[in-house]
Amino acid sequence: MKKKLGVYVCHCGGNISDYVDVEKVKKAIEDEGGVYLAKTTMFACSDSNQKDMVDDIKRDDLNGIVVASCSPKLHLTTFRNVSERADLNKYNYVHANIREQDSWAHSNDKEGATEKAIRIVKAAIARARLAEPLVPNKIVAQKAVAVIGAGVAGMKAAIALSDMDCPVYLIERSPFIGGRVAQWGKLFTSNQPGNELVEGLYNKLINRKNITIFTNAEVTSNAGSIGDFKLKVRVTPRYFSGLCSDDQLDKAIEACPVEVADEFNFNITKRKAIYRNTFSQYPQTGVIDMINCTRCGKCEAICDKIDLSQKEEVLDLQVGSVLMATGFDPYTPEAGEYGYQETNRVVTLPQFARMIEMSDKKLMHNGKEVKNIAYIYCVGSRQPEGGNTYCSRYCCTSAIHTSVEVKKKFPKVYNYHFTRGIRTYGKQEQLYAESLKQGDIYLQGDEDNLPEVVVQEKKTLVKVNDILSAGRAIEVEADLVVLVTGMVPRADNSVGSLFKLPKGRDNFFNEIHIKLRTVETFIDGVTIAGSCQSPKNVMESVNSALAAAAKSYSYVSKGELETEPVIAEVDEALCTWCDACSTACPFDAISMSNDKEKAIAVINNAVCKGCGMCLPVCPTDALNLIAYSNKEIESMIDALAVD
């Protein structure tokens, strides 16, 4: 049948048209064979354009569509759906990527990018001319989701999936679940303490039969793909065969000779190699940190439920989707950065938050009562090129919230904020107003005029030329300097590498599209939630967790997934059965058939995965992949090659 194609060239706002002359592209392709209609459009993906496309297809009886826009990863499905709404087989739609692989990649060369766009669209037209209507394949999808990370995002996602009747494996690397929220006191805007939030979520988790929680557990390998991920999970024992009494556990901890920095309190306190949860962490039991334990056996002698002979286990899990919620690390300043590690009068905001939690009556530090607190903002954020150039977004609010809470708990303190402009968006502005009302002093520098910390023997001075008072030099003698640090990606994000998750320029895991596909990744079946994706506050993390849960569920809910109808096909006239294809096939999808006049290869359509490994080994070129035939590929090469 003669092709009647509709071709749409997208401006993508200016993402394409700022670097590609889209009108020139349209003119260059409108007379190509088969093209019946050619248009440019401001946003091809917009509802109005989609409706226009449906109208065009129906009105003009188009039997093929090409959209030249962003990556097919983003909108291939969108335009296939448009085709289906217009009763056109969706495989008659061909996508041309002129954004990621053209306008953005060649934003320094408009002429070159325009020429390239013309060829890319011509190649897509060439392919569309040969496209046939196809029927998708179906594969079984394991109805289970692995949620990696049991912080607030992971816990909320697990509960949401459970509510949708989906089995969940919640895998947490540390011995306790709760994540960062367990480390915080009262949260803004709810005023709910972090421990209460974690407790509430934990109680929900343990009451759901379709959630299996693994703590001290790490994914060590991944095989398979969407619908059928095969994970190996290494579970490190807690070295407890049952519960010790509180008294026994206390004595065992006291007897332990090993002391290490306590990561829960951001290393401002020490813990033993055997330790118990804090009141905000779950499960409420002890654990032995075998990396630091010397196996002296003193704890075993106190409680017979302690068993140092326990061995780690490796479990095999099969899931249809993986939801990544591995969280963030707080930025650790360099030694000497604003006096950090030069004096113990300089701490980070997370350390200060733990100090407040652990202090009563008076805010003491190094045996001295703290009165003047200087907060230095944007430490580890908004750095010049080469550092963390991004804004962590939560830290202004967190610092101001901390200053409000510290003033409530210790009314005699004075808060001095050395900012680079306050970014308390939305309701968080109320907190800023409250801080001003309680008498906090705000001073402002900028990128070229950062505060300076002068460490002297007995005192610490913070200086800035305050741009809010016409650049006047202002100096504060601080009992404590709090560095308002931002979020950085986890130092150990190796689990992301197992899934080959792409990272963005800030090194957080990257979504496909910040507005349109916010929790999906380029790896089919893997979603991301919470602050492993970008700096987020608790509310934003929870929102993304619920979105990721819904998306992961959509992959597994039906128990089957549609896959591309791309399988190998045999040209019976050319095939002389030599066995090369059958040997090359990793899925045993090819066998010999004697049903015809001669022996030939036959493809088991249910088993063929469409890899194409059989194609290059065939001596008579009798094999082709559907949608990747010689004609289709070579016609695209022809179109790309024309000068």
Partner: protein
């Protein structure tokens, strides 16, 4: 009249939909520039590229062909690397028969996050090809 000096070589890239294509997309997203005469055709797996397609590209005027291979990340199995190597070897033989410099076919494993590696490889390949085009 002397031939016009070309600024960039015409390169056809065979990428793979799940592994190397996302890396090439990401290179664009990060505005990592490379020559605009680099064109991509995406296939399911690098071990399914036919030597005749590569030969067709040279016939039609491409200076070089770059296979952005799946490597060990291939979703279709570990044999991908070896099989892609075989098809490259087979193509090299065909190229020699037609007196085409085998170095005009290049293969490198490009994982889904290897954007910088892709751009580095392509720029290096472009420089090599330019030396042969504009000696």
């Amino acid at each position: 009249m002397a031939e016009k000096i070309r600024k960039s070589a015409k390169i056809l890239v065979f990428s793979t939909e799940k592994i190397s294509d996302p890396a090439i997309d990401m290179a664009g997203l990060l505005k990592l520039h490379y020559p605009p005469t680099v064109y991509t055709i995406s296939v399911p797996c690098s071990s399914g590229i036919k030597p005749r397609w590569i030969m067709h590209a040279y016939e039609k005027g491409f200076d070089g062909v770059f296979i952005a291979a799946d490597g060990t990340d291939c979703i279709f199995g570990e044999s991908c690397t070896e099989k892609t190597g075989h098809l490259v070897g087979k193509t090299h033989t065909m190229m020699k028969q037609k007196s085409i410099d085998p170095a005009r076919l290049k293969m490198a494993a490009i994982c889904s996050v290897c954007s910088e590696s892709f751009v580095k490889q392509i720029k290096g390949f472009n420089e090599y090809l330019l030396k042969t085009i504009n000696p």
